[in-house]
């Protein structure tokens, strides 16, 4: 164990603190509401009343230039071009969170596609897609699930045929988050119908303005259209839009799912929300008594804080294992999505409970706290407990792949 930061890092901390001071209260020019999801995930909501207004992509640019995000992504692809540095990442996260300065954008492009292209993409694909994605100019959606292929994703049926140097795609996706705001989709398509189900799938990049794509927004329980149905009718994209080889889509997708599962439950976001909850409990009262002074509420808060602290420390251990290849935390990585989404749901539910009737308020009601984000996020994280591989599926993965327990016997096609 060596958590000693050393002088070099203290200088870095001062630099980050100065940056945070400069940008304290920064707010975003309102664009489309595609950011609701990324706000919920990052646990941040920029201060609405501030004079320092930037667009999301300007903010993204500023953070990349400083190396506060996209740190280890090569310069030639639009990143900062530095080395992964666990301590610096930690300092950045802590200082941003303390100063309530919003972090970088999340979303499926930045969190999932970029790491995937770095691992699997051709040189041209890296050149073409990573920079605009990092800079928030190219929004991506993930076209995996279908009506009959949810947990059993590998049974997906959307079909791709290579005709005259183009992929011609037909079929339907569902639950596609942010499709209506996206420029691009990374999509799983069955291109090898004769092959066994896991080896017949390819990973294809599809511009959303291609003729033949129809997007139908689906309203979710938060009453926002968080996801969509996407229909493909002879949608034609060039052959080079495939990532990796034909039939390798399942392996590519699995590496993306790993990234997704990490990013859905960012411990720093959870820490931000915990801090918001604590300040709220110091301000709000029942019969003139501060919520934080009520023992039953405070005990629940302390329980949640314990879980948040564990998950923060755990995320450091995971980061450490990335730069110290000998450290094995395979099991520790597998639990992230399950534990993180449940914790966030619990935390938001606690905020609602301590606020009582005020906690039930929604939309534009008077007396709303934090723009109604407690209710929104409480529901949204129930969605994430289901999305990205349900938490029951996560438990199957943890027990089978993590603990080496036997798989359930497979039921064959016939039944």
């Amino acid at each position: 164990m060596d958590l000693n930061y050393g002088a070099e890092y203290e200088d870095f901390r001062k630099e980050v603190q100065a940056f945070c001071k400069e940008y304290q209260g920064v707010s975003f020019k309102s664009e489309s509401n595609e950011n609701t999801m990324s706000d919920a995930l990052s646990g941040s909501s920029a201060n609405k009343k501030s004079k320092k207004e930037v667009t999301r992509s300007e903010w993204q640019q500023i953070l990349i230039e400083k190396g506060y995000i996209a740190r280890a992504i090569p310069k030639e692809y639009g990143g900062y071009g530095g080395e992964t540095d666990i301590i610096k990442s930690r300092i950045i996260a802590t200082e941003f969170s303390k100063a309530k300065v919003p972090g970088g954008m999340g979303g499926q492009g930045i969190d999932m596609l970029v790491p995937t292209l770095l691992e699997w993409g051709s040189e041209e694909q890296k050149q073409k897609y990573i920079r605009p994605t990092l800079h928030g100019e190219m929004i991506w959606c993930q076209g995996y699930s279908e009506p009959n292929a949810g947990s059993d994703l590998a049974s997906l049926q959307t079909k791709g045929e290579l005709i005259d140097g183009n992929w011609v795609i037909n079929g339907q996706k569902i639950w596609t988050s942010t499709a209506q705001y996206s420029q691009m989709m990374f999509c799983l398509v069955r291109t090898e119908p004769q092959a066994p189900k896991h080896s017949g799938i390819s990973f294809i990049l599809i511009p959303m303005d291609t003729p033949g794509i129809e997007i139908r927004p689906l309203v979710d329980m938060t009453l926002k259209a968080g996801f969509n149905e996407v229909f493909f009718d002879d949608v034609t994209v060039p052959e080079e839009n495939i990532v990796a080889k034909r039939g390798e889509g399942w392996s590519v997708a699995n590496s993306v799912l790993g990234h997704e599962r990490g990013s859905l439950a960012d411990p720093n976001a959870t820490m931000n929300r915990l801090n918001t909850l604590i300040s709220m409990m110091k301000e709000q009262t029942i019969d003139g008594r501060r919520l934080i002074d009520i023992p039953s509420y405070r005990d629940r808060l302390m329980q949640v804080q314990g879980k948040v602290m564990a998950s923060q420390a755990h995320s450091l251990r995971l980061l450490s294992s990335k730069i110290n290849p000998g450290q094995n935390v395979k099991l520790g990585g597998m639990i992230q999505k399950l534990v993180g989404t449940e914790l966030r749901h619990e935390l938001e539910g606690l905020a609602i409970d301590v606020l009582g009737e005020i906690g039930t308020l929604y939309e534009d009601s008077p007396y709303l706290k934090e723009d109604g984000s407690f209710q929104f996020t409480y529901m949204y994280f129930l969605g994430l407990i289901i999305g990205g591989g349900t938490n029951q599926i996560q438990k199957n993965i943890i027990s089978e792949r993590g603990l080496g327990m036997p798989k359930e016997p497979k039921v064959t096609e016939a039944s």
């Binding site: 949810g150 409970d353 308020l361 007396y367 289901i386 938490n391 029951q392 438990k395 039921v411 096609e413």
Partner: protein, 364 residues
């Protein structure tokens, strides 16, 4: 001995359930929640009034059915199970109970028959009596009420509001009084009304029995809490039914998802936690009328315990449905949100458990 709803009570509940099942589809709930179909909302409301749910708790001498709280519980379960978008706990349970137990003879003779004919409707606001947020609260002096009441229920078309001061003195104010300013609040559950009242020198008609006996306001509270518990129980029952039937149909990995132990166990856990709640609830309602020494503790624990179980059910039943459970299309969220609102009304679980401890002298 017989422990359970009587045949009559079951029948009444079935009428309510059947009425809602026949007349209130998810699409219709959605329209009502979005305020898109006032006519439909009225139709549903009057359909349920025709069943007599308003007259249940009014004594026979005032033209009511003179039923006990258990009968109202049977109805509330039915309303919860079908997301009945109508007033009930406040208008037809707490108001008649308050008037009947604390009203003068003249007040009873005036108001109770009007509840039976539904000519006079009552909104109810006891939130500040339970736990005042945002420094709300009403000051009562010289027959005038001043202050703010938040989270008033059943008040959309109310002619009167039943309110209380911090000391538990219950009083009525006329909704048309010029000193009342009414603001709509929006909760996650948009099928039910939620109001803020600001009162300036409003004439207050005190229910005298609540002045002489502070236990009366508690009794009204107990009744409301039991009814919200019943409503959440009904909603939970419905969510479990939906989850089980979906699990029997939806296929993944070439088998129905209900054949996965993970899914079976979620359903079994929901059922096992909910099953004892029926008896708990009926016991609480029975105590309310027949075992006054037990009643307060029973009411508090029924509300807080059933709120916890219902919260768990609302989450797991949604999970069983996968992505579909999260959609507006399926509308499962109306049950989820109903349970969410009931949980906080008249005190969330922590506050009520604190009261339960107090009742037993555990906090001396």
């Amino acid at each position: 001995m017989f422990f359970g709803l009587s045949e009559e009570q079951e029948q009444f509940q079935d009428y309510v359930k059947k009425f809602l099942a026949d007349n209130v589809t998810v699409d219709e709930i959605r329209k009502i929640a979005n305020g898109e179909d006032a006519a439909l909302a009225k139709e549903i409301y009057s359909g349920l009034i025709n069943l007599g749910i308003n007259a249940l708790l009014v004594p026979e001498e005032y033209g009511g059915l003179g039923a006990d709280l258990l009968s109202a519980v049977a109805v509330a379960q039915g309303l919860g199970s079908g997301v009945g978008p109508i007033p009930f706990a406040g208008a037809y349970v707490m108001a008649p109970i308050a008037i009947n137990f604390a009203g003068s003879d003249e007040q009873k003779a005036k108001y109770l028959p009007q509840i039976v004919s539904n000519e006079t409707k009552f909104g109810v606001g006891l939130s500040e009596y339970v736990a005042a947020r945002e420094d709300a609260g009403i000051d009562l002096s010289g027959g005038k009420a001043n202050g703010k009441a938040l989270f008033v229920i059943d008040g959309d078309e109310a002619d009167y509001f039943l309110l209380a001061n911090k000391g538990g003195v219950l009083f009525l104010v006329d909704a048309k009084d010029k000193g009342i300013e009414i603001t709509k609040l929006t909760s996650v559950d948009k099928t039910r009304s939620y109001l803020e009242l600001n009162l300036k020198n409003v004439t207050a008609e005190i229910l005298p029995g609540s002045e002489s006996d502070p236990k009366v306001a508690k009794k009204v509270l107990d009744a409301g809490r039991i009814i919200f518990a019943a409503d959440s129980l009904g909603a939970s029952e419905s969510m479990i039914e939906k989850a089980v039937s979906y699990a029997k149909e939806r296929k993944q990995f070439n088998r129905v998802i209900g054949s996965f132990q993970a899914v079976k166990h979620m359903c079994a856990e929901m059922a096992s936690d909910l099953e004892p709640c029926y008896a708990m609830l009926w016991q609480a309602a029975h105590s309310f009328d027949y075992e006054p020494d037990e009643a307060r503790l029973q009411a508090c624990q029924a509300k807080s315990h059933i709120s916890e179980v219902a919260k768990m059910v609302s989450k797991k039943a949604t999970e069983v449905h996968g992505g579909m459970g999260f959609t507006d299309l399926l509308g499962l969220h109306y049950w989820f949100k109903r349970i969410g609102l009931n949980r906080q009304l008249l005190g969330g679980p922590e506050l009520i458990r604190e009261e339960a401890a107090e009742i037993q002298g555990f906090n001396q």
